[in-house]
Every structure is written in structure tokens, then in C-alpha cells.
């Protein structure tokens, strides 16, 4: 029985979330193409001043909207499926769905208004919205609503868990639900920073109620949220890699206990790392930066464990199907099936992104690449591939279960992950190398009069060509994906023969082999809060004590 037949209401909610995510993805991908062609001087259809509006739209639509709605859809399915309990409160579900949607519309409309001179609103403050660059108040209000809505979604899943717990007082939390709940606890903890930044400072300031805000304080609150949000994007991909990828490879997950350890480590370590985005910031003592760096490097541990599990699960799956050889098993994997190939390629690309992330995390090595095009090269591998390609690939498997319709254009779907992969290899390697040459990120112009960029390997011109071709292929990959989704929605008919098997096999080592303390969410949350206080308590106190609106002012507005 397909998911949609068992839980029709939950399937509908998940579908709505995913359709909104895909719509945002389409617009954001188009903006990405415009940027890739503009800043490589390939094709210029907008004035350079409008580049930043397009860039803001790309960052917000992909980094906040596509991700948050995609995660909501995926988690709504995963939590319901693994607990076997339907969402308990339909009005709550409607409430968070509407809150997130209204927030998205407000923020997106304010950004797009920046393209039209006759609309007195704009928000070209980029994804990071560093004060004192100012956006229209509706942008900040929209962003706040999107985040508050996501809190409601988390509440929905915790209520489902409570209902399940009442009838299963002694059982271990089912693995997928465990992953959903720990991810949301991490999200509550980290999004508090951006919520305070936006609600307490940016909204009153943009409305003119207070005259200024402290740039360093608001920036620090942003990065308090700005790095853990990356794990909010990645953990849903990890959920897929741990629970669905082994099955798609033909086997089963190795170890349920180690998967739990991984997620607990993310809950503990994700938030107290934000200062590593501020290594080159004045006004922050180097000791705080060192603490954040240490945490950041230990955060490598759960990712390295995941790398092991991803590769080992694929190998195990292939060997279950009779494959042999040291590496020959790789050819026995079902590469022709997009749900497998996409997820596998996303996992492989993430390893490359992880390595460049280690460079970002190194306090003194970071000097060479901070705010260069290296950085977008890095996160196009993490969020732009690990998350995005995983979500696309798993949609080929999930959407039939959520709609009851067979996937259409399967041939197109089968080549789509490879198009994305090749596009990303070209674009991200050129971006990484461009960063080593000192080419800055976030700029509309590739050339400067007083500055020359010397490539370490290859030439700057060749990098530009790769970025233009890579960006074009990525846009093509996005269009192919959307065509398959739109075709399935419009042409597919309800069908009892879905050709998708939604069941997930039990892991080799089950939860019963792990200590019960792993399921103690209260304990882990308490430790996570303590670590955050340790990393952020004193520096934030310093910044507030020297004047909450600007350094040297009284802590209260005059």
C-alpha cells in the first residue's frame, strides 16, 4: 500500500511543501543561470546594478525557501512513515504551511520588486542581509514568518512523536523519526539567533523605530544561525543516505546505533561553530575563534562517519546482489535508476565539498580564501549538490508514493543526475581555483582596473568558460528535473502498480544493540545548550555591553 493511500492528509501536506520547493527551485535556478553568464561576460541581459537583486533572489529562494519547504515535505513523510502515526492536528499543519507560504511570498515579492524602479521596495541585501545595508521591512517580516512557520512544523512532528510514545512507552524511537526530531532540536536552537536578529533588531530598525543597529552584533547573530542552517539542509540528505540509499543499492543499513551517534553529534556541535565565518572579523578576540574552530573540526567526525556508511552501504548492497571484486562492485550498482544514481552522486560530491570545507574551517588557511569565489564553489557542492541533488533524486522515488502516480519521462530522469554532476564538476572546480587566485565572490564584474588575478593552475579565462558551461548544464539539469515532476503531476494517472517499493529494510545492527541513552533527547539538548553558552555567552555579552545599537552607545536606544 502506497504512502498516499495510508496517510492521505500527510501525503497532501508533503506534496504541497515539495511543489512550493520546486517552484522556488525553478526561479532560483534561472537566476543562477543569469549570474553565471553575467559575471563571466558570456551574456549580459541585466545591468550590473541589478545583478545583486538576482543574487539575493538566488540565495534566498534556494538557500532558504527550496531547502526549508523541501525539508518540511521530506520530514513530514519520514516522521509519519517511521512512527506509523498520522499528524495529530490538522489546524496546526494548516497553520505552519500558511505561515511559511505567506512569509515566502512577502520576501520573494520584495526582492523581485528591486528589479522594477516604479515599485518603492527592494531587498538586494543578499542572503546574508548584513546591516547596515537595509532592505524593505516586508523582506525581514517575510523571512521571520518563514522561520516561525518551520518551528510550527517541528511542533507538528513532536506531537506525532508524543502520540506514538503513548502507545509505545518502552520502544526505541524509530530511526527516521529520531533523525527528524534531533534535526529539529538543532534547528530550534540555531534559528533562535536569526529570529532575535530579525525581530528585535532588523524589523524595528527598517521600520524606523530605532535609528541604528550594531553591525557586528547583528552579523554575529546571523552567523550563529548561518552555519548550523547548513546542517539543517544537510541532515535531510543524511536521513536519505542512511535510511533509503542502502535499500536503493540493494542492501540494508549497517548500523542503526552509529547513525544515531552521528545525529546526536550534529545536535551537539552544529551551533557553537558560527565564528568560523568571522575569522577575519575585527572586534572578536581570537580565543573565541579558536573555540569555534575546535568545534568545527570535531564536526568533521559525524560527516566522516557518514562518508563511511554511504560507501559501505553501497558496497554491501552491490555484494548482496552478487557483485565481486575490489572495485568491480561499483559497476553492479543500479546507475540507470535516477533515484539511486542521484543520491549516490550527491554523496560522492559531498566528499569533495567536505574537503574544501576543511580549508574554510582552518583559522589561518582561511585567510587565503575568505570571501573569494572559493566559498560559493564549496557550498555549491554541499547545499547545491548534497542537499539539492539528493532531494531531486529521492523525489523520483518519493513523488509516486505521495501522489499515487507513476513517474513520467523516466528516460529524462535517468540522465538528469549525470547532467547535474558534470555541470557541478565544471563550475565548482573553476570556482575553487578562482578563489585561490583571489577572485572575489558576490561581484557583478569579473574584471578590475587596478587588480590582476593570477591563476595558480590554468588561466582565468578558462575558469570563466567552465563556470559558464557548468552553470548552463546545472540550469539544464534543473529544467529536466522540473519537466519530470510537472509531467508526473499533469500526465500521471492514479495507478495501483506504482513500480516503487516504499518499504525500508531493517538495519544489520538494530537500535536494540545501542545504549538507551542515545534516545534521551532532553539530555542531548541540555548539553547542546551548554556548549552554545560556552561558545557564545561571553562574546555576545561583550558586544551587547559595549552598546546594543552601535559600539560606544548606551545599551538602550535614546
Amino acid at each position: 500500500m502506497a504512502f498516499v493511500d495510508r496517510y492521505p492528509a500527510a501525503a497532501r501536506t508533503a506534496r504541497i511543501c515539495l511543489w512550493i520547493a520546486f517552484a522556488a527551485f525553478g526561479v532560483g535556478a534561472l537566476f543562477g543561470l543569469i549570474q553565471a553568464l553575467h559575471r563571466t561576460n558570456t551574456l549580459r541581459i541585466i545591468p550590473s546594478a541589478d545583478y545583486y537583486t538576482i543574487l539575493t533572489g538566488h540565495g534566498v529562494l534556494l538557500g532558504l525557501v527550496f531547502t526549508t519547504f523541501g525539508i518540511a515535505g521530506l520530514f513530514h513523510w519520514a516522521n509519519t512513515r517511521s512512527l506509523g502515526v498520522a499528524p495529530t492536528n490538522e489546524r496546526l499543519t494548516q497553520g505552519w504551511l500558511w505561515t511559511m507560504t505567506i512569509g515566502t511570498v512577502l520576501a520573494a515579492a520584495t526582492i523581485l520588486a528591486g528589479l522594477f524602479d516604479w515599485i518603492p521596495a527592494s531587498a538586494d541585501v543578499l542572503y546574508t542581509f548584513y546591516a547596515p545595508l537595509e532592505a524593505h521591512p516586508l523582506f525581514y517580516i517575510g523571512a521571520a514568518l518563514l522561520i516561525v512557520g518551520s518551528w510550527g512544523a517541528g511542533l507538528d512532528w513532536f506531537l506525532q512523536y508524543r502520540e506514538w510514545r503513548e502507545s509505545n512507552p518502552d520502544a526505541r524511537i524509530p530511526l527516521q523519526s529520531f533523525m527528524v526530531l534531533t534535526t529539529m532540536l538543532m534547528w530550534y536552537l540555531c534559528s533562535l539567533g536569526v529570529a532575535i536578529e530579525v525581530v528585535v533588531f532588523l524589523i524595528p530598525w527598517s521600520l524606523g523605530l530605532i535609528s541604528q543597529v550594531d553591525p557586528l552584533l547583528t552579523r554575529t547573530l546571523f552567523w550563529y544561525f548561518g552555519h548550523p542552517v547548513v546542517y539543517f539542509w544537510l541532515l535531510p540528505a543524511y536521513l536519505v543516505w542512511y535510511t533509503v540509499l542502502p535499500k536503493l543499492s540493494g542492501g540494508r543499513l549497517f548500523s542503526d546505533p552509529l547513525a544515531r551517534v552521528t545525529f546526536v553529534l550534529f545536535l551537539l556541535l552544529s551551533t557553537p561553530v558560527g565564528f568560523h565565518h568571522q575569522y577575519t572579523d575585527p572586534g572578536i578576540a581570537s580565543g573565541y575563534k579558536l573555540v569555534a574552530m575546535t568545534n568545527t573540526f570535531f564536526l568533521l567526525l559525524p560527516s566522516l562517519l557518514t562518508l563511511f556508511t554511504v560507501v559501505a552501504s553501497m558496497e554491501h548492497g552491490a555484494r548482496q546482489q552478487g557483485a565481486g571484486g575490489r572495485l568491480a562492485w561499483l559497476t553492479n550498482l543500479p546507475w540507470e535508476r535516477p533515484e539511486f544514481s542521484g543520491v549516490a552522486l550527491a554523496g560522492i560530491m559531498f566528499a569533495a565539498g567536505g574537503f574544501s570545507g576543511m580549508i574554510n574551517a582552518g583559522m589561518n588557511i582561511n585567510y587565503l580564501i575568505h570571501n573569494t569565489i572559493w566559498v560559493p564553489g564549496h557550498f555549491h557542492l554541499t547545499v547545491g549538490t548534497a542537499y539539492a541533488l539528493t532531494l531531486m533524486a529521492i523525489s523520483y522515488w518519493l513523488i509516486p508514493q505521495l501522489t499515487g502516480k507513476r513517474l513520467q519521462f523516466r528516460g529524462l530522469a535517468a540522465i538528469q543526475p549525470f547532467v547535474w554532476f558534470v555541470g557541478m564538476v565544471l563550475m565548482s572546480n573553476a570556482m575553487h581555483r578562482g578563489g585561490l587566485a583571489g577572485i572575489p565572490r558576490r561581484t557583478a564584474e569579473p574584471q578590475y582596473e587596478q587588480v590582476s588575478f593570477d591563476a595558480v593552475v590554468g588561466t582565468v579565462g578558462e575558469m570563466r568558460i567552465q563556470i559558464a558551461i557548468g552553470g548552463t548544464l546545472l540550469f539544464l539539469g534543473a529544467v529536466m528535473f522540473l519537466a519530470v515532476m510537472f509531467g508526473t503531476w499533469a500526465l500521471g494517472k492514479p495507478d495501483s502498480q506504482l513500480r516503487v517499493n516504499g518499504s525500508i529494510p531493517e538495519p544489520l545492527s538494530g537500535a536494540e544493540e545501542s545504549p538507551r541513552v542515545l534516545d534521551n533527547l532532553v539530555l542531548w539538548t541540555a548539553i547542546a545548550v551548554a556548549l552554545v553558552l560556552l561558545a557564545y555567552g561571553v562574546p555576545l555579552y561583550d558586544m551587547v555591553a559595549d552598546g546594543i545599537h552601535f559600539p560606544g552607545s548606551a545599551p538602550f536606544p535614546e
Binding site: 545583486y52 545595508l133 572586534g283 567526525l301 566522516l304 583559522m363 545492527s509 552601535f550
Partner: protein
């Protein structure tokens, strides 16, 4: 708790890798002495800088290059969309001598990056970024503002010219 032997090995190797990474960076700080941009530059009220009342600030001087007993001091104001000095006149500094930069902004957040080097700092209103560099050889380095600062951001650039110590004229007095 049952953990597969290969998983245990991987776990251990990962921990070694992590500790080694942290070790190299700590070595970089205490051995070669790679210093971080930190809070040593102090804070300043941005409107004072905007109005050019540098005499009211005890930790920031009028923008320019000063040759002092402790080395060369360079005071730079980064604003939409220029470095002062840097953009209309290059910052001239001697090779082989420590040069301390003090950079601040009166308006929005900017960046100060010598392209292709590890001279790289954010410029945040209200804070003075202070960092010391020794240029080994004469040459020219382009300064890029690498933080988006408004729709003219891509026009914000400048230059540092490193000259032989004998040719350095000592800058402003």
C-alpha cells in the same frame, strides 16, 4: 553497543585526522606566528569617521601612511565605493618592514583583501580592523572589496605598492 571493526578503525582514523588538523593550525599560530584579526584595533563611532573628525578618536588617525618608530602605520577608510587611501592614490609601503594596517568604515560593511595573498579582513562599521604585514619583495597588490556594499560594489578597488626600503619616502608626517 556493537560497532563493526571497520567502523571502529574509520572512527579512530577520523579522530587522528581532526586532531592533526587542529595541531597544524596551532603550530601555525605559535611557530610561524600567523596572527588573527582580532579585537585589538578597538571600536569607534562610525559617524565620527563619516564626518572626518579624526582628532576626536584616539585609536584612528587621518587616513594615510605614517612612518613611526615602531614601523609603518597605514590608516584606511573604506567607504562606498573607494579606499582612502588606496583607490585614487596607491598605498605606498616599504619592503621588509612590518606594516600595520588600521581599517574602518563609516557606512556599511566592506572587505579588504589583497588578491591572491593572505592579507584579508572584514571592515565593519564601529570596529577598527588592525593587522600587521611584512611584504618581502617590492611589487604591486590589488585591493578588492570582497563584501557586497551596495550596487557599485564591483567598482570598489585599490592598490598597495611595495617599494624598496631605500625608496620609501616615509609617507605623511
Amino acid at each position: 553497543m556493537h560497532v563493526h571493526r571497520f567502523e571502529r578503525l574509520w572512527f579512530g582514523a577520523s579522530l587522528v585526522l581532526i586532531v592533526a588538523f587542529i595541531g597544524t593550525i596551532v603550530y601555525g599560530a605559535v611557530g610561524p606566528g600567523v596572527a588573527m584579526v582580532d579585537d585589538s584595533g578597538g571600536t569607534v563611532e562610525p559617524s565620527v569617521i563619516a564626518d572626518g573628525n579624526y582628532d576626536q578618536v584616539d585609536n584612528f588617525r587621518e587616513p594615510g601612511v605614517y612612518d613611526t618608530d615602531d614601523g609603518v602605520e597605514v590608516y584606511v577608510v573604506a567607504r562606498q565605493y573607494l579606499f582612502q587611501p588606496g583607490t585614487s592614490e596607491a598605498i605606498e609601503v616599504p619592503a621588509g618592514e612590518p606594516v600595520t594596517f588600521h581599517v574602518t568604515s563609516p557606512d556599511v560593511t566592506h572587505g579588504f583583501n589583497l588578491a591572491g595573498t593572505n592579507v584579508n579582513s572584514m571592515v565593519i562599521p564601529g570596529q577598527i580592523a588592525e593587522f600587521t604585514v611584512t611584504f618581502d619583495e617590492p611589487g604591486e597588490h590589488g585591493i578588492v572589496c570582497h563584501e557586497y556594499c551596495g550596487d557599485g560594489h564591483h567598482t570598489m578597488e585599490g592598490q598597495v605598492v611595495v617599494v624598496e626600503e631605500s625608496q620609501f619616502d616615509g609617507g605623511d608626517s
